[in-house]
Amino acid sequence: MELYLYIALFAPLVGSLYASLFGGSPKSQHVGIVASGLLFTSFVSSALLLSYVMGGHTVHVELMTWMETGDLYIPFGFVVDQVSVVMMMVVTIVSTVVHIYSIGYMDHDKGFNRFFSWLSAFVFSMMVLVMSDNFAGLFIGWEGVGLCSWGLIGFWYQKESATWAANEAFIMNRIADLGMLIGIFLIYWNTGSLQYDVVFSEIGNLPLVVTTWIGIFLFIGAMGKSAQFPLHTWLADAMEGPTPVSALIHAATMVTAGVYLVVRANPIYDLIPNVGIFIASLGAFVALFAASMALVNRDMKRIIAYSTLSQLGYMFVAAGLGAYWVALFHLMAHAFFKALLFLGAGNVMHAMHDELDPFKMGGLRKVMKGTFIMMTLASVALAGIYPFAGFFSKDLILEVGFVEHHYVIYTVLLLTAGLTAFYSFRLVALIFHGEERYKLFGIHPHEAYKFMLVAMSPLLLLAIIAGSFKMTYYQLVTSLLPDTQYHVHGEMTYWIMTIGTQLFVIAAIVFAYKKYSNWNSVPDGSSKLENSFGYKLLSNQYYIPKFYEEVFSKPYLELSRIAWKQFDLKIVDATVDSIANAIYKTGENTRDIQNGNLSTMLRWMVIGLVVLVSLALAFTVGYNAVGA
């Protein structure tokens, strides 16, 4: 089994290195095929590992030592257990699909080979992240996915906005990484190790305050990667990257790393329910907050990104409330349908020549039947309609909230579920229904390559049927995660809740269809709605990016300039120079003593004599005084 582990882990790396060999050369089809093939290998290995793990075993290997000094010992250790194998499956499935899809999507791009190099490197980092058996290894993957995310968001580096977004994402993640690093330090100095098993067995013996701080700092790390408020702005901007990247990194895998961390560190969070409540509350807030921004946005990818953000909020609610397996389940289901949604959006983008405003589309279902079906189904899954995947996972989270008596969180999530349904179908309605507004812009849309649609189909399938794995999954992961069943008291309440939620969601869908499926004009910013305060607030993302720009970015640059020009050059350096100048000037001024005039010299000699003799006198007198 160790062999499969290594294959699953290193196949993407090999793919990445292979692709990077051709990084500078023009497009070569074989690069995409080889990279995809290797990922498929990785997927197969993961599947084999899954079947092995389902048999109740785990695989734990130690590749080699990484760092060893003092008491610190960090190996490259990998573990395939019930949790990581689920993540491995999710990562390899989605990334295989995305790789194959990208062969078509990046068909005409100059950076085809480079793209695959980055993408496979990302998968490798993600695998390291999920498979590592210690926090340092997790951090390697953590930073690795950050790097690849940077490279892929800024993939089209000629675009100013893309590189800006890439840097923003990297730097914001770094802020969170600092938190994570501090968390790791705390763990090390309190438990003496970074291995999961050691840490988790020791953690119960620590004072509660230490555990609390560990939990908080680790969660700060998770907040960055999973784009939780207030570090959320990078995710929407990250949509500058190619769409497959958005599907893989910014929907299915990397952004869920934060959730994975919390799930993985569940023994820690179990001890500190207060932090858990905070996580859940923040998650609920982000769910609603992100959904509200998605309501009015006019950028197809951003809408989906906000929806991702919102769903991450759901996951954190579950994780915060201790329902780790539920969080992981939603993570999995979400990965499938959200990736599908993004890939569909990618098809639309291609068809529309990179036009992102859904108001400029409309009626595309006639030309893009496959994509239409897929995106609709994905949206249905996202909205959480029975029997799609979203229903099982999302409904469960609502139940968790309800059962744990956090009714405010429950209400917020319920409301968000409605909003989710609304904006998802607003998008679908605007893109695929109504008048063919794109004709105004002289675009001739066409369906994507067949094989791209075929590549997407596994995701479609999973988005539909993932819910049926629930019990198998449950049995699998609860051997590692806390086994808590969430049953609403009373069958009656349960049915009322479930059906009520379904009806609410369906109502939202119907409303969205009604409002947008017959849309016939492109809004130009003059309508009453668009000028209302609420609309502006939402479409400007609550002015938070602007706030960051004005309060952090610009003052930081300004402060840096001042630090350099005013402080470093004019104070620190000038002080040094003035000391040198003072010595130089003294030399210039005292040069007159050496004017060669004997008379002056004699005079100076006498002055010197006086000074010396008086010093001698003073010291003698002083010495005698002391001596006496």
Binding site: R603, V610, V613, S614, L617, N624
Partner: protein
């Protein structure tokens, strides 16, 4: 009483003479006043019982040094005054007096605190010259011989410096000058 009168008299005379030496603009006055001052100083030596020193003072200073100066002055145009630009004479006076007081203070310090011991006490019943001779040729023999050598060197030095052909100084000449000098002067030097 006699000692006191003598002291004050010669003190006044010495001070006056030396002041003239320092202040006058006439070189001739200066040298004359100084010669007189030197003789008056020898009087102090006699008063203090240093007969030998007194004699030396008169012989060396008034006899040799002053004669040397007098001869030296013949070389110069003594009638022409050196223009003496004086800047801040006050500073000069203040500094001079201050320094002098300090030096004396240093001298006095050990005596005042009475922690000085006589190394070579004056023996009773022995004349000053004899005593001096005894110390000079026992304890101070080496310095004495060195002083003799020094005087010899000084004599030779004086002769050579004042001699002919010394109007050129190698240190003050540029390199080309030296080389040209070698060519033009060597035959003449050989002729002497």
């Amino acid at each position: 009483m006699f000692e006191a009168i003598a002291f004050y008299l010669f003190a006044a005379l010495t001070i006056v003479m030396f002041t003239i030496t320092v202040m006058t603009s006439q070189a001739l006055y200066a040298i004359t006043a100084m010669a007189a001052g030197m003789i008056f100083i020898s009087a102090f030596f006699f008063i203090l019982g240093a007969d030998f020193l007194g004699a030396i003072q008169i012989i060396v200073y008034t006899g040799a040094v002053m004669a040397l100066y007098a001869f030296g002055m013949m070389f110069f145009d003594t009638t022409r005054d050196v223009v003496e630009k004086r800047t801040n004479p006050q500073i000069v006076f203040v500094l001079g007096i201050l320094a002098a007081v300090m030096v004396v203070a240093i001298f006095v310090a050990p005596i005042v605190s009475n922690n000085i011991q006589a190394l070579y006490p004056i023996q009773e019943g022995v004349g000053n010259s004899q005593a001096v001779g005894m110390v000079l040729f026992t304890k101070y023999l080496v310095p004495f011989e060195l002083a003799a050598v020094m005087l010899l060197v000084a004599m030779i030095g004086g002769i050579i410096l004042a001699g002919k052909k010394m109007d050129k100084s190698l240190t003050l000449m540029a390199e080309e000058e030296i080389t040209t000098m070698d060519d033009s002067f060597e035959p003449q030097a050989g002729g002497h």
